[in-house]
Symmetry: C2
Subunit: 643 residues, 2 copies
């Protein structure tokens, strides 16, 4: 842990992304061009990429074939047949019976459907309609003509291609070899799933994300056992990986700290092309080459890791298979919140999208490089170019989709107060109908009301106490949304209180105790109903909030508050009973409040809102909440129009 | 082959698709609901579907962690630091060194970046800026809070989900078992790849398409050895398949012929729910149930097979994994050609799409149930409902996409005359840049000019001889497109002639010989430049075309003509030398003609047309054509503006 300043190389370069990628690809172009191809069975070729055009060997059909069950005839012998003038045909002279697919040979040149044939006896049939030449015959090559191109080079093979290739007599084809991607997780602090969890340890997960991404891109991942921060171990692993793969990823250790050996090793074994890229997240990236093979040092934060992979490894894996980057899966959306960025770097902002009133609303998610859940929740990515200082709320932006748009169109956008039940409702909605989703952003009750006013959400969970009337929610809706027809879908009654550590070691019994010097508090963000409740209680007791240590430390969910208390980084916080229970903490009740769902009346008939109401009224939901405790469900799902 | 009428059951029912699907799903609902789940390792869960919501076990980070390399301090000891008032801190008393990710424990509550620290000696550092409490510390649960939902039920697991699950301490999760789909190919006429090809035999390919589709949908295909049309063999295979799978597909034999045993067997072993569906293609479909398991009898034509799978098997495989059919990947397009349909059935029309002048143009592909290449070429599917008689040209239709729209937007739409080189150009374009594609429809030279006039194509290959001037193409462009700025990209000179069988067994030497009674001719479609050339030559010789047997039999490509001659179903046809050579046929030259590419001037600057020109001017293209023979390349790629 003795990491002194002088031992560090503090200075990374700040190369623009596009420039870095060009330098990189140009340098390993020779290796790319010489990438091996292989012949594989067509039957096993799903998802592989053709390395040359494939031309049919046979025609399909390869003979003139009957297209119907019926009889084969010479058209000329039927020309005068009519209802008034039926013609009799003799078997093996004038006709033969044929099934669909059977060959039609000379002298026959037409087929009459069995439904149009009257059988007289074993040998003779009668027809009452002329057959035109070649009717109901599939000519040779109707589907595929020999020597016709079935698929071009660089084509990703689909099931229908396999069918056509086989029909054209092709049983093997030349494809690009799957590029092998060596993945080396490093770091003394990482543990494998199942190993003992303790402070300072983190579960290694980036390499597993890389494995999945490599597979999805058609490559072959090759993960090595995690390597601790040890120069010699890392060196031998890199040499092995370079030997066994086309591309090598070294995860973490790519920065400039004393234990960051990647740069030193790539320099020693090959060449560092770029160290430090003008991107956020992802700056401490290394692009290098060893034995003409690409080596990428990727930073450790999961979000950085994802975007650096996406920016530098993905195009490489594609190139090894004759594919190009496809950046055109973009949609236009309106930005709901101002984003400030730096001129120093290109920034990747994860975006939550919602279709509200026909408009696609883009809401930025957490920008922390360590927040892997922001990738799980993201619907798309918005790229702020290096020379931009950011974008204002209300501007149109282009978002690269991470989910299909039709999924996004069926997502209920909920913005407002947090409660644990939002996760549960989201799950039950998805369980009922995997078409629908609930996307839930936690900005507090007032923030939710504002989001509805700006038409950025379908629904807002709120719990706002009107101190003058003692009534919940209604007066706030009237005040802030007086010009809109709104409804409250009644939610749950829930118990709020002070969350404290198990056994109450700091002897906290009331709000006054929060003023003690040894007590560290953790708060919710401004606009949260829970904070408004806290302030109301403090005011009632004439307590000056600024005297409470930690009053300024803001968390955005009940669970985050409970987690802070559970870990000992805070002694007390305010939140709901269910959060305290979930973290096995103690709880001093303050009172019961009404947590409802505010929704514009015009949305009440929408399928997604109907599903939402159905879910919260369901038996399953009630049972889950009863098990959790701390919730009242008498009026859940009732609708109250406000106005 | 003795298939008499009385042995057949000619009458299938004609149940509407939606009704049939409802009957089917309702009947096997119990089996669907009891579908097994299993626990698997998160590491192996890519693409699997969660069978319940997954909640985090640990928080991530699970401790307060340094977000930077630097020093951990007590914020309160730094409050008065400034440039004028630097503060000195002592190691292990006021601060400790920390690396990114290391735990921050009491009494420390802030981190100062190493870049902002001045090291005085081994024990002391100086700072010139106050640290605010909790700065550069990732609080417990910043990413994931214990008990938070990471993914809901029925969620298809992506690489980023794997990362978040592991970070949340989840190493195993419950997923739906992959539904096993038994695939039984049947038919005495089918052969396996590698078996000897002969008339009446076809290569079994549908089961391989099903395998691919099942895999793509997350199921597990289980293909059985092809079963000949034998009642007992088929029976034992069905019983085995029912035992080993959740769903069983029997391919071909689902109609009502004497050798179509599927219906009889499903009836005997279980229950036939529906036989005969109001759909085109795909009418002779069987939906049944044996031992509460779904059995689907699918007709043999590849296109029927595809759509019946898509309509009845796909929703089933999805349901077994908690997923729903997603029909919303649709675009609006303008229909370029009238489509007539019958009120009797719902029809699936394969569609080629092209982005011309901002408009998406939909051109129907071959509607033959046997044309598997129409599935390879299709960009989408247009469904004509059962109660519709069809759609007029120019109407807006909804097309369900089979390819991403951005791929379609980068496709050169070529409509016009056919030549073998179109395949080659298409391949070279795709090889140069897998982003771009060439879609080539063959409607003859005049058809191509009309398509450009209607703005349905980017480019039209034409070879039209002006009999009065002897000049090619220009006068036709002036006549039909006088109001548009057009250019001709010079293509190739090519030799046209009469294609005859090897060794010339029928003694054909000139056009006059086509009149002989024993000679069967095969023609090109109306509007084809080759047919215009033929008519010109016939007229010159005062030959009455109606006296030529087979003059009315129309093929749309040179290769189809050559294939007809090669197979002996015709003795002669007119076409290009390269087609005769490709099929190893003999050839009587008529003359050389100019095969050019007509293009609106405004498209000349487009990237895709530039790439087209680059490709036809390339050395690789010239070498391929020189090897094929029959082409002149003096002016290839030159541009002539017409007007």
């Amino acid at each position: 842990m003795a990491l002194k300043n002088k031992e560090r190389n503090l200075y990374l370069s700040n190369v623009a992304v596009e420039k870095a990628l060009n330098i990189f690809l140009e340098r390993i172009n020779k290796n790319l061009k010489n990438h091996e191809k292989e012949f594989i069975s067509v039957i096993d070729s799903l998802g592989r990429v053709s390395a040359s055009a494939v031309f049919a060997k046979y025609s399909s059909p390869n003979y003139n074939a009957s297209a119907m069950d019926g009889i084969a005839v010479k058209a000329s012998t039927t020309f005068f047949a009519s209802e008034r003038n039926p013609i009799q045909l003799k078997i093996n002279k004038d006709f033969i019976y044929v099934d669909t697919g059977e060959p039609i040979k000379k002298p026959y040149d037409a087929v009459i459907m069995i439904e149009d044939v009257v059988e007289i006896d074993e040998e003779r049939v009668e027809i009452i309609k002329a057959a035109s030449p070649w009717q109901h015959i599939r000519p040779i090559g109707e589907d595929i003509v020999a020597n016709e191109m079935i698929i071009p080079s660089n084509h990703i093979i689909r099931p229908v291609d396999i069918g056509a290739l086989l029909s054209g007599g092709i049983y093997e084809l030349k494809v690009y070899k799957k590029p092998k991607v060596g993945i080396i997780p490093t770091g003394t602090e990482i543990i494998e799933p199942g190993e003992k969890m303790e402070d300072g340890k983190i579960i290694e997960s980036n390499s597993r994300v890389f494995e999945g991404l490599v597979k999805e891109l058609g490559g072959e991942p090759n993960r090595y056992k995690p390597v601790p921060d040890d120069y010699y171990l890392l060196k031998s692993t890199i040499l092995k990986a370079i030997d066994e793969n086309h591309i090598v990823i070294i995860n973490a250790g790519s920065s400039a700290g004393t234990k960051d050996y990647t740069k030193k090793l790539v320099d020693e074994l090959g060449e560092v092309l770029v160290h430090g890229i003008a991107t956020k997240p992802g700056k401490p990236t290394i692009l290098g080459v060893i034995n003409e093979k690409a080596v990428i040092g990727i930073p450790g934060y999961p979000v950085s890791a994802y975007f650096v992979f996406d920016t530098f490894v993905k195009p490489l894996i594609k190139k090894y298979q004759g594919q190009y980057m496809d950046d055109s899966n973009k949609v236009q959306a309106v930005l709901s919140k101002r984003i400030v960025s730096s001129l120093k770097h290109k920034e990747f902002v994860r975006i939550k999208l919602g279709r509200v009133d026909e408009q696609l609303i883009a809401t930025p998610l957490s920008r922390g490089a360590g927040v892997s859940m922001s990738l799980v929740r993201a619907d798309g990515v918005f790229v702020i170019p290096q020379n931009s200082e950011g974008v204002e709320a209300g501007e149109k932006i282009e978002v690269s989709l991470l989910k299909p748009l039709n999924k996004i169109n069926k997502t209920i956008v909920s913005i407002g107060s947090h409660d644990l039940i939002m996760d549960l409702i989201g799950n039950l909605i998805h369980k009922q109908n995997a078409f629908y989703d609930l996307s839930s952003a936690h900005v507090g009750s007032l923030g939710g009301i504002m989001a509805l006013r700006r038409r950025e959400a379908h629904i807002a969970p709120i719990h706002l106490l009107d101190a003058t009337t003692g009534e919940y929610n209604v007066s706030f809706v009237k005040k802030y949304l007086s010009n809109l027809d709104m409804a409250l879908i009644k939610g749950v009654k829930r118990v709020q209180g002070i969350i404290i550590q198990k056994g109450n070691p700091k002897n906290i019994y009331d709000f006054e105790d929060l003023l003690k010097e040894e007590i560290v508090f953790v708060n919710r963000q401004r606009g949260a109903g829970t904070r408004i409740l806290l302030d109301y209680e403090l005011k009632k007791r004439k307590i000056n909030p600024s005297k409470i240590i930690g009053y300024d430390r803001e968390m955005t969910t009940h669970m985050a508050v409970a987690a802070a208390v559970a870990s000992g980084s805070a002694d007390a916080g305010v939140g709901v009973l269910s959060a305290a229970k979930a973290m096995d903490l103690e709880f001093i009740p303050i009172g019961e409040e009404e947590y409802d769902f505010l929704v514009p009346v015009k949305y009440l008939d929408k399928g997604m809102i109907q599903l939402f109401i159905k879910v919260i009224k369901s038996k399953e939901f009630k049972e889950i909440l009863e098990n959790m405790g701390g919730y009242g469900l008498e009026h859940t799902g009732e609708i109250i129009k406000v106005k």
